[in-house]
């Protein structure tokens, strides 16, 4: 087992809303190791983005702890807090709103170094930016161009170069390929995986796309309305999905082949409601075909149902 880079303990985030507390992230425990990717999947409103924002401290957690290489970071303040960003970085979903339209690409990539990096001469900085651009596959002629002159794929490369500028150990990737066309999406996924191999990066990859999460992750965590429902090694998860929600999610993907043509699949009824002041127990239970009284009784423990395969469901709690 390699070294854990990020570890969370009972990480919880509630938002105050006029209608009550919104339970966005409910007591999440996860470990991300050096050079590994944890995929976080779920539908809109499941709390996956909030989880990423709490770990990067863009949002302050309500309770719980986050350890960066063994050191707790949620309690840090001032410059100690800023220093975590030498190791933790993030890439964003929207290639259009993630780059400051007033800055040239060179300036965008240089900004983190000027803000936090070592002091260096203009010439060295220029060299460093060019080498970062090279790393993500952007030719030097883009140095003076502006974001609006680039397509989504190239913009996403700029966002990645900016995240790499401080040479981090861990990157939160929040739906980085969702806005891209499939042909471009594959390029970016390959780039992310190459970089991981080369720099031993740890990723938390947030997405709703199961094809993508299967491809890029080592472990996958499935979330539903703020709760973790299943966590497993990816092949194990796809081979033996155990939580009823995971099963429904996998069954719902339209496959790009003729295998499921004409077949009627099992459909999940209903839609996600909002996790404001949720009832105790499993939040999936109103839509779950196997739900029983036990599911609504109270907290359901995380259970290891196979080696390295955890599930939160009364079907397995005996």
């Amino acid at each position: 087992m390699s070294k854990p880079v990020i570890k969370t303990k009972n990480l919880t985030k509630y938002f105050k809303t006029p209608r009550g507390l919104l339970h966005a992230v409910e007591s999440v425990n996860l470990t991300i190791e050096e050079g590994k990717t944890i995929g976080v999947v779920g539908e809109s409103g499941c709390g996956k983005t909030t989880l990423g924002r709490v770990i990067t401290r863009l949002e302050e957690a309500t309770s719980g702890e986050v350890y960066l290489e063994g050191k707790e970071i949620l309690g840090l303040k001032g410059s100690a807090k800023r220093n975590i960003y030498h190791d933790i970085q993030m890439i964003f979903q929207d290639p259009y709103s993630s780059l400051n339209p007033r800055l040239s690409l060179g300036d965008i990539i240089a900004d983190p170094i000027e803000t936090m990096g070592e002091r260096m001469s203009k010439k060295d900085l220029h060299e460093l930016v060019l080498s970062l651009m090279d790393t993500v596959g952007l030719p030097p002629r883009y140095y003076n161009q502006y974001p609006h002159e680039l397509d989504g794929g190239r913009r996403q490369r700029v966002g990645l170069a900016r995240a790499l500028a401080l040479d981090p150990k861990f990157i939160v990737c929040d739906e980085p390929v969702s806005a891209l066309d499939v042909s471009i999406q594959a390029q970016i996924l390959n780039l992310l995986m190459d970089l991981q191999e080369e720099k031993k990066l740890a990723y938390m990859f947030i997405t709703h796309n199961l094809f993508v999460v299967k491809h890029i992750s080592h472990n996958i965590m499935v979330m539903y309305m703020g709760q973790v429902v299943e966590l497993a090694e990816k092949n194990e998860l796809f081979a033996h999905p155990s939580h009823p929600y995971t099963k429904a999610l996998l069954a719902a993907i339209p496959q790009p082949d003729l295998s499921s043509r004409g077949k009627n699949r099992e459909l999940l009824a209903g839609e996600v409601s909002s996790p404001i002041e949720p009832k105790p127990g499993c939040r999936f239970s109103p839509r779950c075909p196997y739900a029983s009284e036990k599911c609504r009784a109270g907290e359901i423990p995380l259970k290891e149902i196979a080696p390295n395969h955890y599930c939160v469901c009364t079907l397995f709690s005996n």
């Binding site: 539908e43 809109s44 397509d151 989504g152 794929g153 190239r154 066309d181 499939v182 042909s183 471009i184 999406q185 594959a186 390029q187 996924l189 390959n190 995986m193 709703h208 199961l210 094809f211 993508v212 299967k214 491809h215 092949n235 796809f238 429904a248 999610l249 069954a251 719902a252 993907i253 339209p254 496959q255 790009p256 082949d257 003729l258 499921s260 043509r261 009627n264 699949r265 459909l267 999940l268 839609e271 996600v272």
Partner: protein, 328 residues
């Protein structure tokens, strides 16, 4: 099957301040009654522009059909008067959009929005008959009829898309154009909507043009597929022709290869090299030749014709031996 829509050699361009965008470049497309046609391609391939052309609702002043004909049920849409067009839209051809939030009017109850379509197209119906039709269509798309007095904001995203479908179908059109109707929805909701569309297709016999970038949705729902790249249809055929993946246009092959597989453990994906061509500055010859692994000198000089083998047509010199077919 009878021919319902026949698009011939359609060219559409957008004249913007900065440049001329060549959005559709010589598209031929035939849709028969009751047929479900998938129109697949990436951003900027010209899918939506083609669809807007069918209803003749390209953005005014900017969008311009420079060549071609669109014949719907024997009549050329491009020569129709304003009145004829209004009568056609909604009654014979209707459209559902990607974002159900913006396509519904927020201050009118959903029942009234459906009723409005009936008022427009079936003036002879009485109030009671219309109310009955509204109830029926809501039930058909899986919404309890009592909810017709509610406003769009009281419905969830998936429900709103069901209402969009109800509005589109209440006049029983012969052709429904669905422009990425599930892209804004979660997968489990998408599955519900796809199921509904399959069922409606069976029950009502409406022809469907499904615009999507998702090859999975086409496989599930469509009879025939047309793959678009840079404003051209580069390959068309039955779903079997295309999804058997024996003979495909290199772009189609590229699209399939880009999607990660759920059942294998490949380490790297095979993306299509390069980027989408700039529609303001299209290359000579085959539009895909810059990105094609099988490119020859000829591809850069000459745009390939459509070569045909049964129902399967491909615009690529590699299939020249099939012999020239009707253009696509």
């Amino acid at each position: 099957m009878k021919e319902l829509l026949n698009i011939k050699n359609l060219y559409v361009q957008y004249n913007t301040d900065e440049a001329v965008v060549h959005a559709v470049n010589g598209v031929d497309l035939i849709v028969h009654r009751g047929e479900a046609m998938g129109l697949v391609g990436e951003t900027g391939a010209g899918k939506t522009t083609t669809a807007l052309g069918i209803l003749n609702i390209l953005p005014e002043q900017v969008g311009e059909i420079t060549e071609g004909d669109i014949v719907y049920d024997g009549k050329n849409v491009l020569n129709m008067s304003k009145k004829e067009l209004q009568a056609m839209r909604g009654k014979q051809v209707s459209m559902i959009f990607q974002d159900p939030m913006t396509s519904l009017n927020p201050i009118i109850t959903v029942g009234n929005q459906i009723d409005e379509m009936l008022l427009l197209h079936f003036k002879e119906l009485t109030k009671e008959q219309r109310a009955q039709k509204v109830d029926d269509i809501l039930k058909l798309v899986g919404i309890p009829a009592e909810r017709k007095h509610e406003y769009p904001f009281q419905f969830s995203g998936g429900m709103k898309q069901r209402i969009g479908i109800a509005i589109a179908l209440v006049c029983q059109p012969d052709l429904l154009i669905a422009d990425e109707p599930t892209t804004a929805l979660d997968v489990t909701i998408q599955a519900q909507i796809l199921q509904l569309m399959k069922q409606l297709k069976r029950e009502l016999g409406t022809a469907l043009i499904m615009i999507t970038h998702d090859l999975g949705i086409v496989a599930e729902l469509c009879d025939n597929v047309s793959v678009m790249y840079a404003g051209e249809i580069v390959e068309t055929g039955t779903v079997e022709d295309i999804y058997q993946r024996i003979e495909n246009h290199p772009y189609t092959t590229g699209l399939f290869n880009c999607i990660p597989k759920l059942d294998s453990n490949e380490k790297r994906l095979t993306p299509i090299a390069g980027y989408m061509v700039d529609p303001t500055d299209l290359p000579k010859g085959c539009k895909f030749h810059d990105r094609c692994p099988y490119v020859t000198d000829r591809c850069g000089r000459e745009n390939p014709k459509a070569y045909q083998n049964g129902t399967h047509k491909i615009k690529c010199f590699r299939y020249e031996s099939w012999g020239e077919g009707d253009s696509i």
